[in-house]
């Protein structure tokens, strides 16, 4: 199995996230950046499939130079090699532009299976898996909480998470699968893995290397734009209801006023 797994570096979830005042993109410079937590599940699943069926796991990321840290983490968890697409012109890519760039890189790797996670914690678009499948012309299996691969029959079956149960979805390989957190428990890197990661092949591509047209990516190529942004208002202190024997009535009145009951 030739498995490609996409990962993204995002601002740490506990860090206060900000938008860059100049171009209203996520400010990645002033915060700690980590691997998008859900991507750890994608990497774990890729490694498990490789462990079960053999093959190779290639990590693909698009991001600034610093994003190589996230690649290293995936490699130290056990992935075999990585491709890092990095170019100033890619800055500000929206989901459409990102999926175009990633699809271009992934198509050159001829994968049997592409694994993404269901969303990144910074933008929370949750569409990259679907967009990639469309651009690569592959079947898409999203929201997988369980993945079973049958290389002999060249098919993949997933349990697709639904509101009250799950759906069994099957597709022929190659395919794009996006996973949810329920799927596994990601491993930590080990010291051996960390040392080994240093020696694993890492290909760094510029937009031109990847054959991307600068006008179609980045802020320039984005189909969407952030027109204005204001910080969320600080949480107000809330209403204190004093119980003078009529607490219940007061609460009911409050809820009714909010049109909650």
């Amino acid at each position: 199995m030739n498995i490609v797994v996409t990962v993204k570096q995002v601002p740490d979830t506990w860090a206060e996230k900000k938008l860059d005042a100049a171009d209203k993109t996520v400010d990645r410079k002033s915060v700690d950046n980590v691997m998008n937590e859900m991507d750890e599940y994608g990497v774990e699943e890729a490694l498990k499939i490789k462990e079960a069926h053999g093959g190779e796991v290639t990590v693909v990321t698009m991001g600034p130079a610093k994003a190589v840290e996230t690649i290293r983490k995936a490699l130290s968890m056990g992935a075999d090699k990585a491709v890092h697409l990095t170019d100033d012109s890619l800055h500000g890519s929206d989901a459409l532009a990102t999926s175009a760039a990633l699809a271009k890189v992934i198509s050159t790797l001829s994968p049997d299976l592409v694994i993404t996670s269901s969303e990144a914690s910074d933008a929370r678009g949750g569409v990259i898996g679907a967009l990639l499948a469309e651009r690569l012309g592959l079947p898409q299996l999203t929201q997988a909480r369980k993945v079973t691969v049958d290389p002999a029959a060249s098919k993949v079956t997933i349990e697709r998470q639904a509101d009250n149960g799950y759906a069994l979805v099957e597709a022929s390989l190659p395919a794009v699968v996006s996973v949810v957190e329920k799927i596994n428990q990601p491993r930590y890197p080990s010291f051996k893995g960390i040392m080994a990661a240093k020696k694993k092949p890492l290909t760094t591509l510029s937009a031109a290397d990847a054959g991307l047209d600068a006008a179609s990516v980045g802020l320039a190529g984005a189909a969407t734009s952030v027109v204005t942004a204001v910080p969320a208002p600080p949480r107000s202190s809330g209403t204190i209801v004093k119980d003078e024997g009529d607490g219940g009535t007061k609460i009911a009145g409050f809820l009714a006023a909010q049109k909650l009951i």
Partner: protein
């Protein structure tokens, strides 16, 4: 409402990176053969891993392990399951062998980086970290001094996380004074020994967390020289192993009881009876032990690991201080209370308490203690690496000398001042700090151990003044003073406020040199050592002032809140803390006899 401990509450990663890369130049270490497989990326990945595992597996049960103390039902010790689960994850990462040779499966990580990694665990949960702490110390000792057979039998399974280790020095009647231990080891015809005696305070002495427990035990072989020269070191496993390495028979090591402690509760603390006949391996009472190295050299072996163990204790104290600081900082930003002295309009909203200068005083004091202590323990770790891997012999020797001299301070200063930081963290929390809803009271209780174990504060003082500064004609102190003097020169050259700080440091240092010489010339040893603790504390504050000047120099010319914070803490330390040494040095210079001349009957 208190919130769960998050990764950002342990130790500031920004600070660790600053100290490692912008100050200690750890990025240059991979040029050395021992660290050739490493680079900034492996160091960062190791730190990331430590921070993440500490936050996800150690921090969450810190309070639970405190409230659910270990219990003993007469047969077995019971602990909350989270401790064993965390240790399993820890072992899987390979962190146990972080600094060890590749030949035994280690990662050959520099000690300075490994120490920083381990500190995240200590900040997250100092009690659960106690188990790997002891196991690493135990394994390092065996790797250095034991036969390859003992290493194969006991160290391998320890590094795999299957066995845990202990250090059995203290006895009920012999804590500070190890020459008075009475555990004896009787040589057997087959070359093994049988041990008989009681060991008190043994951390991790019994539990069900691992397949086996490897005790390192100090005991005397009858007929040997008296005092410390007659002490030998033995490996005494809880379970004896068959030829194939599987657990065979229960050794005659019995848990007499658990000690119920103020803090550090998740680490079991035990009174162990060796050879009382509870178990009879081979049909006889007596705990079977295997000699490490040569007879009668046991204390020297133990002490060869002491620098590392004591740096580890200092690091633990620092880590508890650090996390308490970060939690009180967060609290101070969020707690609205009162109004500025100049704006008492009751209609105006209350301000977060961090707006009060007095609260900032408490935060700045903590910052200067915990970041100063972090610099100290990392510097010590860097010296360990220097001692082992510096290219030329003179540099290795100098690092050894400097580390030996600084060790009592590395152990004692954080134990005293990061405990003081925890006290201030409680104070910043007001009434809430005094409750168990918030973590800071537990950090204080946990940290209170550190001035007691691994040689009490008073014993460290005797070590510094009675042995270290006078050793080799005062070479240790000379090396320290030379190092400080170099920094003083750099501070003067940098100018601005660093120049007067450098002058201030130079003046205190030169007083210490004079006073040390005068104390060394004092014929009455009792008079000289009576105020050893004052000496330890004065030298300690001077060393930390030096490290603050070093940090201010590393931050010099750099902008931003982080570097401004370093400058503010340095300023605080020079203005508020270093002057404390004045009266201390006066007492020492006067060879004050107040304590010495106090008759016990008067107390």
């Amino acid at each position: 409402m208190p919130t769960a401990t998050s990764r950002g509450d342990l130790i500031s990663r920004r600070d660790v990176d600053f100290l490692l890369y912008e100050w200690l130049n750890v990025g240059a270490l991979p040029a050395r053969e021992r660290f050739a497989e490493h680079g900034r990326e492996t160091f960062d990945a190791a730190l990331d891993l430590a921070e993440q595992v500490a936050a996800e597996h150690f921090a969450p049960h810190n309070r639970l392990a405190d409230t659910c103390e270990p219990t003993f039902d007469g047969e077995r010790v019971h602990l909350i399951p989270e401790i064993g689960a965390a240790l399993a994850v820890f072992a899987k990462t390979g962190l146990l062998g972080a600094t060890m040779d590749a030949g035994v499966g280690g990662a050959q990580l520099p000690s300075v980086v490994a120490g920083a990694c381990f500190a995240f665990f200590q900040a997250a949960n100092v009690a659960t970290s106690g188990y790997p702490f002891l196991t690493i110390a135990n394994a390092n000792l065996l790797l250095t001094h034991a036969s390859s057979e003992l290493v194969e039998t006991f160290v391998r399974p320890m590094l795999d996380g299957r066995f845990l280790g202990t250090m059995c020095l203290s006895e009920p009647q012999a804590g500070s004074s190890l020459s008075d231990i009475t555990t004896r080891a009787q040589r057997q015809p087959d070359g093994a020994y049988r041990l008989f005696g009681n060991k008190m305070w043994i951390s991790g002495g019994d539990h069900e967390l691992s397949e086996n427990i490897v005790h390192l035990v100090l005991a005397k072989i009858p007929g040997g020289p008296p005092g410390v020269k007659g002490i030998s070191l033995f490996v005494v496993p809880k379970w004896l192993l068959g030829a194939d390495g599987t657990l065979d028979a229960r050794n005659d090591v019995a848990l007499a009881g658990l000690n119920h402690k103020m803090g550090f509760r998740g680490t079991t603390n035990t009174l162990l009876n060796f050879g009382e006949g509870r178990h009879t391996p081979g049909g006889e009472p007596g705990a079977v032990g295997y000699l490490v190295g040569a007879e009668h050299h046991g204390l020297a072996y133990m002490f060869s690991m002491m620098n590392e163990a004591r740096i580890g204790v200092g690091a633990g104290a620092m880590a508890l201080g650090y996390t308490g600081y970060l939690k009180s900082l967060r609290y101070a930003r969020e707690r609205p209370q009162g109004r500025p002295p100049a704006g008492k309009d009751p209609a105006s909203p209350q301000v977060p308490i961090i707006e009060h200068a007095d609260v900032r005083r408490m935060l700045l004091a903590q910052k200067s203690y915990v970041e100063g202590a972090l610099a100290l323990v990392l510097y010590a770790g860097r010296l360990l690496d220097e001692e082992r891997t510096a290219p030329d012999a003179a540099a290795r020797e100098r690092a050894h000398l400097l580390l030996d001299t600084l060790t009592p301070i590395v152990k004692s200063w954080p134990s005293q001042w990061c405990l003081a930081a925890n006290d201030l963290a409680i104070q910043v929390h007001g009434g809430y700090g005094y409750t168990r809803e918030y973590d800071v009271e537990q950090h204080y209780r946990d940290n209170r151990l550190n001035p007691i174990h691994e040689g009490t504060h008073g014993i460290q003082a005797l070590d510094l003044l009675g042995r270290k500064v006078g050793a080799r004609g005062g070479a240790g102190l000379t090396a320290l003073v030379e190092t400080i003097t170099t920094t003083v020169g750099a501070g003067r050259a940098a100018g601005g406020e660093l120049a007067p700080f450098a002058d201030q440091l130079a003046a205190v240092t030169s007083r210490i040199v004079d006073i040390t010489a005068a104390l060394g010339a004092e014929p009455d040893a009792d008079a000289c050592l009576a105020n050893a603790t004052v000496y330890l504390e004065a030298v300690g504050h001077t060393v930390i002032a030096w490290l603050w000047l070093e940090q201010a120099l590393a931050a010099h010319g750099r902008d931003g809140a982080f570097y401004d914070g370093k400058r503010a803490a340095a300023r605080y330390f020079f203005r508020w803390e270093l002057p404390r040494t004045g009266p201390q040095l006066d007492l020492l210079a006067a060879l004050d006899r107040t304590t010495l001349d106090t008759d016990p009957a008067w107390l």
